[in-house]
Structures are given as C-alpha cells and as structure tokens.
C-alpha cells in the first residue's frame, strides 16, 4: 500500500518537472523571437534588405544589409556544397565498407564528435593560420574553407546517425542480389537514407550561416557585394555584431532587424527540410 503511494508520488513529481522544463524551453524560444521582432520589426524595411550600406550607415544613415545577406548565402552555400561532397562518401564508407571494423569506426566517430565540440573560434584561428600559410587574404574562399572544416563533423555524424539505423538485413539483401558494396552504398543506402541526408545537409547549412567566430578573421567584412571568391565578404552574424555595438539606438535596432532576416533564412531552411523529408520518404522501409 505504502509502496503504491510512493510510486504515485514519484509519477506526479516527475510529470511536474517534465512539464515545467518543457514550458521553460518553449517560453524561452518565444521570448527570443518576441524580442527580435519587437525591437527589429520597426526598422525592417525594403531598403534594409535591398541595399548595401551607404556612407555613414553605421552612424544611422541610409543603406541596408544586402551585402551581408548575399555574403552569408554565398559563404554558406559554398561551404555546404564542399562539405557535402566530402561528407557523404565518408558517412557511407564507415557504415558499409567498414561494417566489420567496429573499433575503427568507433574511433572515427569519437574523433568526429570531438571535432564537433571544438569551439568555432578555434576553427577561425585554424583557418586563419592556413590562410596565412597559403598566402591567401581574407576572402570568401578562405571563409568557405574554414566553414567547411567547421560543418564537416556535424554533417558526417548526422548522416552517420541516419545510416546507422538501416538494418543490416537490407545490406545482406543488396549483396545477395550481386551488388558490390559501393553499389549498395550509392543505390540502396543512399536512397533509403535520403530524407535524413537532406536534413543533415540543411542542419549544417543552418550552422554555417549562423556562425560568426569562424568567419571573423577569414572572410573579413566589406560594404560591397563580392564579385569573386578571392574578395572579402560581409556576413549577417558579423553585421549584427557591428550594428549592435554601436552607441546609436537606431543602428542597434537595425541589428535586431538583421537578426530577423537571419532567423527567417534559417526558418525557411527548416521548413524546406521538412518538406523535402516528406517528399523523399515514400520509398523508405519502415521497421
């Protein structure tokens, strides 16, 4: 009897804790969105997103952040595409060709997890060192390379987590039909995990576009829209930083407007990821 009461108390206690934690998270999210909308929406205008900064923009004069929007998009698309070309074969390789080498695969996963945890400023410093070594200047290219390093561990591990869930029976089926391991990788496993792979790519894109520290030394900052990858470029996170550190209230509000733009881009990415996930999910074997 007493035992039952303790169990009941436990149950309701943990329910309350879980409910409160969930509430806290949801409220925080809303608070963040509310803050940037409240402070930024009045400053958000067509001019803001369609023009580059004019003289004295950072002192409250005319212009917009088109340079940073375009710069961020170039940079993140570039880095995501390079990272994708490298990550996909690695993720497939460790899940299919190395399926018997459990210890080696675990070691690779461990290293990737460590790299995932390295702060992005460290990648920035590393990218800077590489840049100097090769005699590059702050440029889109240097930024892309640095961002690629930053998101590769994220991309490989996210793809890996999806590929890991594919039952070995599917690999056996494919091999029994006379496929080689590479055919199994690209014709079967790739197809089976395509929704997850797309999610992994978009997740990495979101991480790339939101990162400020790694591009600080490598991409530089400019008021112009870059016309080649050897030119420096502006980025949204840095644009927010520069505007927010201004003592002028109008410029500070523009920082929040820029934050709205960045949040909106990431939101768009999330929604399209959901959409693509459902679109490519139809052939998937559910187990």
């Amino acid at each position: 009897m007493r035992h039952l009461k303790i169990k009941q108390f436990e149950e309701s206690f943990f329910r309350v804790i879980m409910f409160l934690s969930t509430l806290l998270i949801v409220l925080t999210l809303f608070l963040i969105i509310f803050t940037i909308l409240y402070k930024g929406l009045p400053s958000l205008s067509w001019e803001m997103i369609s023009q580059v900064p004019k003289g004295g923009f950072y002192f409250g004069k005319e212009g917009g952040i088109l340079n940073a929007i375009i710069g961020s998009l170039y940079l993140s698309f570039g880095a995501t595409i390079i990272a994708m070309i490298i990550s996909l074969p690695v993720a497939l390789f460790i899940n299919i060709h190395l399926v018997k080498r459990k210890k080696l695969v675990n070691a690779i996963r461990f290293i990737l997890d460590l790299l995932w945890g390295v702060p992005s400023i460290v990648y920035g410093a590393f990218g800077f060192a590489v840049m100097i070594y090769f005699g590059l200047r702050t440029s889109l290219l240097a930024g892309m390379i640095t961002l690629t390093f930053l998101i590769i561990p994220i991309m490989i591990r996210s793809m890996d987590e999806v590929l890991k869930t594919i039952p070995i029976g599917l690999m056996e089926a494919s091999l029994s039909l006379g496929s080689t391991r590479s055919e199994t990788a690209y014709k079967i496993f790739f197809k089976q995990s395509l929704p997850g792979i797309i999610t992994a790519i978009l997740l990495s894109f979101g991480r790339a576009i939101g990162d400020a520290a790694s591009v600080l030394f490598t991409t530089g900052y400019t008021d112009n829209i870059p016309t080649s990858i050897s030119q420096p470029a502006a980025t949204l996170p840095l644009s927010i930083f520069f505007q927010l550190t201004s003592p002028i209230p109008e410029v500070q509000n523009r920082a929040y407007a820029s934050a709205i733009v960045l949040t909106f881009i990431i939101l768009l990415i999330s929604i399209s990821s959901r959409f693509l996930f459902n679109k490519f999910n139809k052939h998937n074997i559910k187990s």
Binding site: K100, E172, G178
Partner: protein, 253 residues
C-alpha cells in the same frame, strides 16, 4: 553420387570472439533438392546459412575456418569475385527487406546492376517472375508504387521474385515464413515445392511440421553441431541419434 552434391562443407568451424558457434560441421547438400536445416533457436542454423554466401564477412569478430565447396570451388578460399558467388544464391531472410524503390525496380534491380537495361526485356522478366511467385495479379496495376506499401506477405514474395530474377542456382531461405501470416506462409511453401527440382533450395526452420511438409533432405543441428543428416524419409521415420528422437518427440524445443 558426386554429381548430385551441390554444396560440400568440410570441417567448418566458426567463432564469434571467443565463442565457438559452429563446431566441426561436415555436410553435403544435394543438388536441385530441398534441404531443410532444422534445430532449436540459437543452434547456429542461421549462421551456417549466412556462411554459405559469406554474409558473415559483414559481422565483426567472426572467424571462419574450414572449407565450403560449391561445385568444387572452395568459396572460403577463392580468387573468384565474392559478388559473383553471392549472385548465384538468392536470399530470403526472416523479415522481408524490399529495396527502397518501386515494385518494378525491385524485381529488375539485380538485372540492371548487371547491365541489362532493355525495357522490353525487363518488363517481360518482371511479369514472368512476379507470376512465378503468385504476386502478379495483386500488383500488376501498381508496379510503380513503392514496395514498402505492400503487406509483409507480399513483400516476402516480392523478395523471392527479386532473388529469382538474377537467375541463381541456389536459394537460401532463413526462416522465410516466421514473420508471415498463415496464408502467405503457405504460398511461400507451395512456391518452394513448385521450384523444387529446378533450384537447390536450403531452408532454415525450427518448425518440425514445416520441415515435414517440404523437406527432401534434413540436417539436424543442436548447439552448433550437426547431429544427424539424412533424407527426409529416413530422418523422420527412422532417426538414428538419441537427440533426434527426442527432438522429434518434442521433448526439447
């Protein structure tokens, strides 16, 4: 006599880590007959089956010693391409694993990767093999639908058709009916009986009744050892070993 033996296993031992899973297996599997590997759960039947087309290559810590001769070629020590060897053996697993593509492509997958892409021939083959497994009438209007939408029983028949389409000589079936409803199970069993004589079929099962219904030849395994192997007639009516007699009486299971 030797011409009637398709697979000859000599002194096969298999270890996973330190565990001795298959112990001194010596068996001969007759050509174009239906052989049942019978035994209680965990006796190594599935492992033995997977050794035959070297799917054991996929599992960590597995060590295989001994010889497996298929048509006098030792597949454990061969220079031949392992993909070619596997292609010669259709596999039906416990759970069906349709490929993540539509029904048509599932059946033609094996043909396409070996370079046959003529649409007319492919269409022909799809109809032929789906008819062979009694699935054609159920799916002929929805060949472009995803295979994952089929019921489990249909999926298993699709997997059989897909395996037959690469024109194997041997069919390996690992408890192919254990996940299926009674009607689908019966269909699969009947298909095996129909194919019998054209293929060397090896079925792993723990069901005595199923073995009785379909087997020409029985291999009885217990705790990683082959206890007895004989023609189905002899095995069921005149078992030699104590263990076999006990199993047939249902004393352990």
């Amino acid at each position: 006599m030797d011409n009637d033996i398709k697979i000859n296993i000599k002194d096969l031992n298999l270890f996973i880590g330190n565990k001795h899973i298959l112990k001194n297996i010596n068996i001969s599997i007759p050509n174009k007959k239906l052989t049942v590997i019978l035994g209680p759960s965990g006796c190594g039947k599935t492992t033995l089956l997977k050794t035959l087309n070297r799917l054991t290559d996929l599992y960590p810590e597995v060590k295989v010693k001994g010889n497996i001769f298929i048509d006098n070629e030792d597949i454990l020590h061969t220079n031949k391409n392992i993909t070619e060897i596997r292609k010669n053996m259709g596999l039906l697993s416990q759970q069906p694993y349709p490929l993540p593509m539509n029904i048509f492509r599932n059946v033609t997958y094996g043909l396409r990767i070996s370079g046959r892409r003529n649409r007319k021939i492919l269409k022909n083959r799809v109809e032929h093999y789906l008819k062979q497994v009694n699935l054609w009438d159920e799916v002929k209007d929805r060949l472009k639908d995803s295979a994952s939408q089929l019921s489990i029983g249909q999926q298993q028949r699709l997997c059989l058709a897909r395996g037959l389409a690469v024109d194997p000589e041997i069919i390996l079936a690992d408890e192919p009916t254990s996940a299926l409803d009674p009607i689908s199970s019966q269909t699969i069993e009947n298909e095996f009986l129909t194919f019998n004589g054209n293929y060397t079929i090896i079925v792993v099962t723990h069901s005595l009744r199923q073995a009785k219904r379909i087997a020409d030849y029985v291999i009885f395994m217990y705790l990683g050892e082959v206890i007895e192997q004989n023609s189905a007639d002899e095995f069921f009516n005149n078992p030699k070993e104590e263990k076999t007699k006990e199993y047939l009486k249902g004393i352990f299971n």
